[in-house]
Symmetry: C2
């Protein structure tokens, strides 16, 4: 119908039309044996909402996701990974060819140092698990970036703005999306989010409690002026 | 229609009609801080399929589930829990009043000994996490049971039948549902399962690769003769 057509025309004319955007979503799974996993409570909803919104704006979207129970948004190319290492490889391979990265995935920063091939039988008493650091994807992207606009996420339970500003600076990001996971109805496992957007030029934008789809719209709107319009 | 009516009449006349069945499903989440979790890759699909099947057979079904992304089957009372400790409490509270327990949940057998209230910032270098045992729900049910029929699950990656038989005996179960999680298309995160049913009277029944709904039907059929028919 005509409304949908005009809406579509409008969105195609946005700065996002034809831009290549890489979005990551979900948790990673770090196995210590076939049935024991280190992870986090991310459901992937924020990243999937961002992917759907970017595709609706006419962007060419690749979504790299950890294990989630969500359907692929229409028009989005999806790549499934399990571990932080696989996420790192999948992101680095595509990074040189994109205009923007939106790193909504909650990647494990530690993994078990030893991974057993068989299920380990439980023993009496306590157990100590040795963990090692995974590669920091966002920090590496911050080092490698040239033209790419880099948006990171900061899920914090305290000192939210302070930690988010430090992350923006330390990892050479263009924007950071901060959220307080201690808030009710926000962050992990929720359909809604209450975020603060911080740009490297010092502009801040505090959003009210929104659905993750609405939050994704606000995020792209706030980033838009930082993204170069194609010459035409 | 008449077929559905007859089907319904047939199922209502089964030994399961009016029986109180407690089913557990999904993983548990053991947090070490607000964003770091020990868990396993269970999606809850097997337990939810069992709950739907038991309700269709006319049973009064309570489903206690860890964090999953699944809709509650029609006619089933659902109780959401997060940790192994919460699962233990929810099960023990209801156990005296049920006729049968089907423990499909994949409960964490270890949890972090210390739980931090705030997100722990990552550090350079390695990390050691101290883990302690959680309570063994199935073993406790095996000790406490009087009239209840007790069905456990054994997810194994090697020596499947041997480990399952040991579990049946050691935990005083009436039946154990064994599956080889190393098999392709079976076990965690799959819509299908390839199971071996072992009863305490020594009867074994190896199932082919089935959907989890079909597997649930087979499981209840194989358990049926052990469940006392109500006097009428």
């Amino acid at each position: 119908d005509i409304t949908a057509f005009l809406q579509s025309e409008y969105e195609q004319s946005s700065v996002y039309a034809g831009k290549k955007i890489l979005i990551t979503a979900g948790p990673t799974y770090e196995y210590s044996d076939p049935v024991r996993v280190f992870t986090n409570p991310s459901t992937g909803k924020m990243g999937f909402a961002a992917a759907a919104e970017a595709a609706a704006k006419g962007a060419i979207v690749t979504l790299i996701t950890g294990p989630v129970q969500l359907d692929t948004p229409s028009g989005v190319t999806r790549i499934d990974v399990t571990t932080a290492e696989e996420m790192y490889e999948a992101v680095m391979e595509r990074f040189p060819f994109v205009d923007m990265v939106c790193k909504a995935a909650a990647v494990s920063d530690y993994r078990p140092a030893l991974i057993a091939a068989e299920k380990q039988k439980k023993q009496n008493g306590d157990l100590s698990i040795e963990m090692e650091r995974t590669k920091d994807i966002l920090a590496e992207l911050g080092k490698r970036k040239d033209k790419q606009l880099l948006i990171g996420f900061a899920a914090e339970s305290e000192n939210v703005v302070k930690y988010a500003e430090e992350k923006l600076d330390r990892k050479n990001l263009d924007m950071v999306v901060a959220n307080n996971i201690a808030s009710k109805d926000a962050g992990f496992r929720s359909d809604t989010n209450e975020m603060i957007l911080l740009r490297k030029d010092g502009k801040h934008h505090s959003l009210p409690l929104l659905t993750k789809t609405e939050a994704a719209k606000e995020m792209f709107a706030f980033a838009e002026s930082m993204l170069k319009r194609d010459e035409s």
